[in-house]
């Protein structure tokens, strides 16, 4: 919860005059340090490990683990804004579409995490990957 409060506060009072010259990260850093860990929080919150000893669910076991999922979902949602600032999105029509899809997936993940719905999180995790791959296929080699 503490992380969420800090994030909400930061985003609420985020300077509105963010300009191209105020970018603090290049795209690689933004992906590596913001979106990748956030996505991993979603992907690692559901699924199964199956061995000869049995089947083990990866669902969060306590509030702290659920908090990580909520935090990841919120970061994904709000990252759509960071990806959409003019210096990153100008003349990139599809980029904006992908950012919008990311925002939608993040919102769905947050809702599923609030409801502790691991089956929904599993499906949303697949959707999240599809958005990532679709965007990478268009823009990764730029």
């Amino acid at each position: 919860m503490k992380n969420l409060i800090v994030l909400s506060f930061t985003l609420t009072f985020f300077p509105f005059n963010v300009a191209a010259e105020n970018e603090h990260s290049d795209m690689h850093d933004l992906m590596a340090h913001l979106l990748t860990p956030a996505s991993e929080a979603i992907w690692e919150s559901s699924g199964y490990v199956i061995t000869e000893e049995g089947e083990f669910s990866l669902e969060p076991k306590n509030e702290e683990e659920w908090e990580r999922v909520l935090y990841g979902a919120k970061v994904i949602t709000e990252s759509a804004y960071l990806l959409s600032i003019p210096s990153r999105s100008e003349n990139r029509k599809e980029w904006i579409v992908f950012a919008g899809l990311l925002e939608e997936v993040g919102e769905k993940a947050f809702e599923a995490a609030e409801q502790k719905d691991v089956e929904a999180l599993f499906k949303i995790g697949a959707e999240l990957y599809q958005v990532c791959v679709a965007c990478h296929q268009v823009y990764m080699n730029e």
């Binding site: 992907w43 690692e44 699924g47 199964y48 199956i50 000869e52 697949a126 990957y129 990532c132």
Partner: protein
């Protein structure tokens, strides 16, 4: 001290194997010029996003080697006819695919899987097309 250093190296590589191989383009991590064709016993299945992983124990004359074979997303595999109960631990399968660019096999070998052949002879495409993987005919839906 030497043992501790070895342990640190192994643990670092192990954590990297999970970090690096989490989500990526085929060409970033796998070697299209290093095809593999392995047969062994399934010891673990990770039915997770963004990629399912099948761990196969391959026995040769001197030792057993664990291969971590990456598949597509669980959803992709379901569409291809595989579910989390299809690949039971203990089953002997044949896997064709491509080895990772890193070939040290520490702590285990890593590969991108193309198809699995089950003991009854049935074959299922387990990869993801369109991620830069070679067009090798493994995906029956690939045009």
């Amino acid at each position: 001290m030497r043992k501790i250093l070895s342990l640190v190296v192994v643990l670092t590589l192990f954590s990297l194997s999970h970090t690096i191989y989490g989500h990526h383009a085929f060409t970033a991590e796998f070697d299209a010029n290093a095809p593999i064709n392995i047969t062994g016993k399934v010891v673990k299945v990770e039915w997770i996003n963004p990629h399912a992983w099948v761990h196969v124990e391959v026995q040769d004359e001197s030792k057993a080697t664990i291969w971590m074979v990456e598949g597509g997303t669980p959803n992709t595999l379901i569409r291809n006819g595989l579910n989390k109960n299809s690949i039971k631990p203990g089953t002997v399968i044949n896997v064709r695919g491509y080895q990772s660019k890193g070939k040290l096999c520490l702590p285990r070998c890593i590969a991108n899987g193309r198809d699995i052949t089950f003991p009854d002879g049935s074959k299922v495409f387990m990869g993801s097309s369109g991620t830069g993987a070679p067009r090798d005919g493994a995906d029956p839906k690939e045009r």
